[in-house]
């Protein structure tokens, strides 16, 4: 009993600290200011997240300068960031990139890159998706790597790279004769362009490689399984962020329903509104439970197959919940919810965009089906 209690107490404490920090550091006015920029984050807030809170190196092992925490703590932090729509390269630089380096098993690269990532001085990201293909469809990766002495040259274009414009270190996957391989690229050596996006609070970029020098990370041809694992961990983290955002949408809706009056009564007294809120409560609570459970499995080093399945269950559920919660938030707010000045559309943008990033709901459901043995017989 005590182990569970201690863990929960620690998580409560972590949640409080992060919430207090973000309420101050990421108010709506800041989210809106940063949404207008190409880099999409505030360097001072990023520095404090790294130095004061130690959150940027959260999942980086201590020997590489991080906090050595697990997915359970990561989920707590992501949920809080989701609540405030924090504009920062956290998913890219604190989750995907360090996870890719760690999964590669390349100790030299880890020792070289991770300390700078963990202390926030270098922003890193992972570029995978190409064309209009789902990021989880690794067969759709056409970018090629050609050996050139002790380095490689990359040819190809990566799409929808999170924080690809702000990044100081670009990790990417490309095909060699031996298969998919992980590479590190200096972003100064590539052509990259910030993309106007549905969700301006999470920055996306197009990255073009043309004879771009790259360094092989880990074994050549060994990236396929590793990248899938990284994207699964990303799915767990993103599910937690989505659950946090959905929770905040429900709070906004309930607050409004209690104060907005029509026909001489708060609109929350009407069952049409009440039932929407009750519906959202059960979806939000279920989403939180699913995200926490997936994170717990990752922290507990459960079997890889169980972890992947839990990640997809959480992602499928949290994606739908967040989009529903954000859409209902607009509906419950009525006209004001449809305006630019109200934050409801920022949540809807984040919700919809998140549902499409890191694997669509269809992809995750298909994975669930496959994992329980429901595969086409043909």
């Amino acid at each position: 009993m005590s182990a569970v209690s201690d863990r929960n107490d620690e998580h409560d404490e972590l949640r409080k600290v992060v919430r207090a920090f973000l309420e101050h550091a990421s108010p709506s006015s800041e989210v809106r200011r940063l949404a207008e920029t190409d880099e999409g984050y505030d360097p001072e807030v990023w520095r404090r997240l790294a130095d004061e809170l130690g959150l940027v190196g959260l999942i980086v092992p201590e020997r590489f300068g991080g906090a050595g925490a697990g997915a359970a703590e990561l989920a707590v932090v992501m949920a809080e960031m989701g609540r405030t729509l924090l504009c920062a390269p956290y998913l890219s630089s604190a989750v995907l990139a360090p996870a890719a380096l760690l999964e590669s098993g390349d100790e030299t690269a880890c020792a070289e890159f991770l300390p700078d990532i963990a202390d926030g001085s270098v922003i890193a990201t992972l570029a995978v998706a190409e064309g209009n293909s789902d990021i989880r469809d690794l067969d759709a990766v056409w970018t090629t790597a050609r050996a050139d002495g002790d380095r490689h040259l990359l040819f190809g274009t990566k799409e929808r790279v999170t924080d690809g414009y702000a990044a100081g270190l670009l990790l990417t996957v490309a095909r060699t004769e031996k298969g998919l391989s992980l590479f590190a690229v200096d972003p100064e050596a590539v052509e990259r362009r910030p993309l106007p996006a549905l969700d301006p609070t999470r920055k996306l970029a197009r990255v073009h490689f043309d004879r771009t020098p790259a360094r092989l990370i880990g074994a050549e041809g060994a990236a396929e399984g590793a990248v899938a694992r990284v994207l699964d961990l990303g799915a767990v983290a993103l599910a937690a962020e989505q659950a946090g955002g959905a929770e905040r949408c429900l709070e906004l809706s309930v607050e409004y329903a209690k104060t907005r009056e029509q026909f001489g009564r708060p609109i929350g007294a009407f069952q049409a509104i009440k039932h929407k809120c009750a519906e959202l409560l059960y979806e939000v609570e279920s989403a939180k439970a699913a995200a926490q459970d997936a994170a717990r499995l990752w922290s507990a080093a459960a079997a890889a197959s169980e972890q992947g399945l839990a990640a997809s269950v959480a992602r499928a559920y949290c994606s739908e919940t967040y989009v529903h919660a954000a859409a209902e938030t607009i509906q419950i707010h009525g006209g004001i919810g449809y305006t630019w000045e109200h934050d409801a559309h920022l949540y809807l943008r984040r919700a919809k965009s998140s549902a499409l990033l890191l694997g669509s709901t269809s992809w995750h459901l298909e994975r669930v089906a496959a994992d329980i043995g429901l595969v086409p017989t043909a």
Binding site: R265, C277, A278, L281, A289, S362, L374, T377
Partner: protein, 394 residues
């Protein structure tokens, strides 16, 4: 899943060995497939639960003085897992476990002595007399009334949707003994023998064509005053008594059942080729995701209870989640079954004996019985989210 929870709970191994070893022996000795015949199957389940009570292995969550095992929550979970894994028959009268907590908490020593043991043994069945023709969701407007005459209450009126009334020996009923007022004033909680003179039970056919519930008429039915539970006029407040933990573990046994049913549906989909249809496959994956999310939800609530924390909103939304899941599950199931899902249960070639079509019809009641989904949403919105009351009085 619960093995981790049980470990986390720090269950004392010595104590667990004690009852779980006895339970394992009991289950071994009672192993066997249920009889196919309905009447024989009921008798079989009754005998099982009588033996279980005899062996002091019934009611894991009840206090020992009430005839239960007094197990803590961690052990109760392990108990239910053991029972489910052995495919032990469920208690044939689930409604008994709605009246039992009320008796344990509010009953007189005589009432506990008289009713609890036969209830556990399934020697006596109970039905619930709450709903009336004019009092459904608005239950406090009920009008079946009792007048005190000497040492008895004389009851007149009608109850409706009374599940198992035609099989029950007793009814726990909410009866008007005083003028209506706020907070369910004037309602008393009475225990009424179904063999009393003046009671007429008229079974009603339900959606499935079966008779699971009835109308019950009361015509000058005499109920001894000793059958009043709690104070006269105090029935409304005690009608919702539960033992807290009982509720948590009841969810668990539901969950084990859903897990099994979903796996059975997967098996059917694999053999029937329905999984080849990508749309059905996505729907099945969604059902799988839902059953896993249900488990996550319960785990979160249980972890909280095990640590002595408030289980929070998760526990209060559980019922609603389950009700809607039950319906979605059966909607998908009929698509998995395919065109032959149109066949009725009496048609011998109906796939899997027509169980999915039957379940589909039955699942419509899960958002109506024991409080409609709409009333539950009102309650959640008001009690958990703090939205103002929908009643005009505000």
């Amino acid at each position: 899943m619960a093995s981790a929870t049980v470990q986390d709970a720090g269950t004392s191994p010595a104590r667990q060995a004690h009852w779980s070893v006895r339970l394992a022996e009991f289950l071994d000795a009672h192993a066997g497939r249920p009889p196919r015949d309905k009447t024989a199957r009921l008798a079989w389940a009754r005998a099982f639960h009588a033996d279980l009570e005899e062996a002091h292995l019934a009611a894991p969550g009840w206090p020992a003085e009430a005839g239960g095992m007094g197990l803590d929550l961690g052990d109760q979970i392990a108990y239910h897992q053991q029972m489910t894994a052995a495919r032990a028959p469920r208690h044939p009268c689930g409604l008994s476990f709605i009246v039992a907590p009320t008796l344990i908490r509010h009953g007189t020593p005589e009432q506990k002595e008289r009713y609890l043991r036969p209830l556990l043994r399934a020697d006596e069945f109970w039905c619930q007399g709450f709903s009336e023709p004019g009092a459904g969701s608005d239950l406090t407007s009920l009008t079946t009334r009792a007048e005190r005459v000497g040492d008895a209450y004389v009851v007149n009126g009608q109850k409706l949707w009374t599940t198992m009334a035609h099989l029950a020996d007793w009814m726990f009923a909410l009866i008007r003994t005083g003028p209506a007022g706020p907070g369910g004033a004037g309602i008393s909680y009475l225990l009424i023998s179904m063999k009393s003179e003046g009671i007429t039970v008229r079974p009603l056919k339900d959606i499935s064509g079966g008779t699971h519930f009835s109308e019950v008429y009361f015509d000058d039915v005499r109920v001894p005053v000793g059958n009043l539970v709690g104070e006269e006029g105090g029935g409304w407040a005690i009608a919702r008594t539960s033992l807290g933990h009982e509720r948590a573990t009841a969810f668990l046994s539901d969950e084990f059942r859903y897990r099994r049913v979903v796996s059975e549906l997967h098996r059917l989909a694999k053999t029937s080729g329905a999984a080849d249809d990508p749309v059905v496959r996505q729907d099945l994956a969604r059902i799988e995701a839902s059953v896993r999310v249900l488990a996550s939800n319960s785990r979160r609530a249980l972890d909280a209870v095990l640590e002595g924390r408030d289980p929070g909103p998760a526990a209060s939304v559980n019922r609603l989640v389950r009700a809607e899941f039950d319906q979605r599950l059966h909607e998908v199931a009929l698509r998995v079954v395919g065109p032959d899902a149109v066949l009725g249960q009496r048609e011998p070639t109906a796939p899997e004996g027509g169980r999915w079509t039957y379940g589909y019809l039955m699942s419509r009641s899960s958002t109506i019985g024991a409080g409609t989904a709409e009333i539950q949403r009102n309650t959640i919105a008001e009690k958990v989210l703090g939205l103002p009351s929908w009643r005009k009085e505000a």
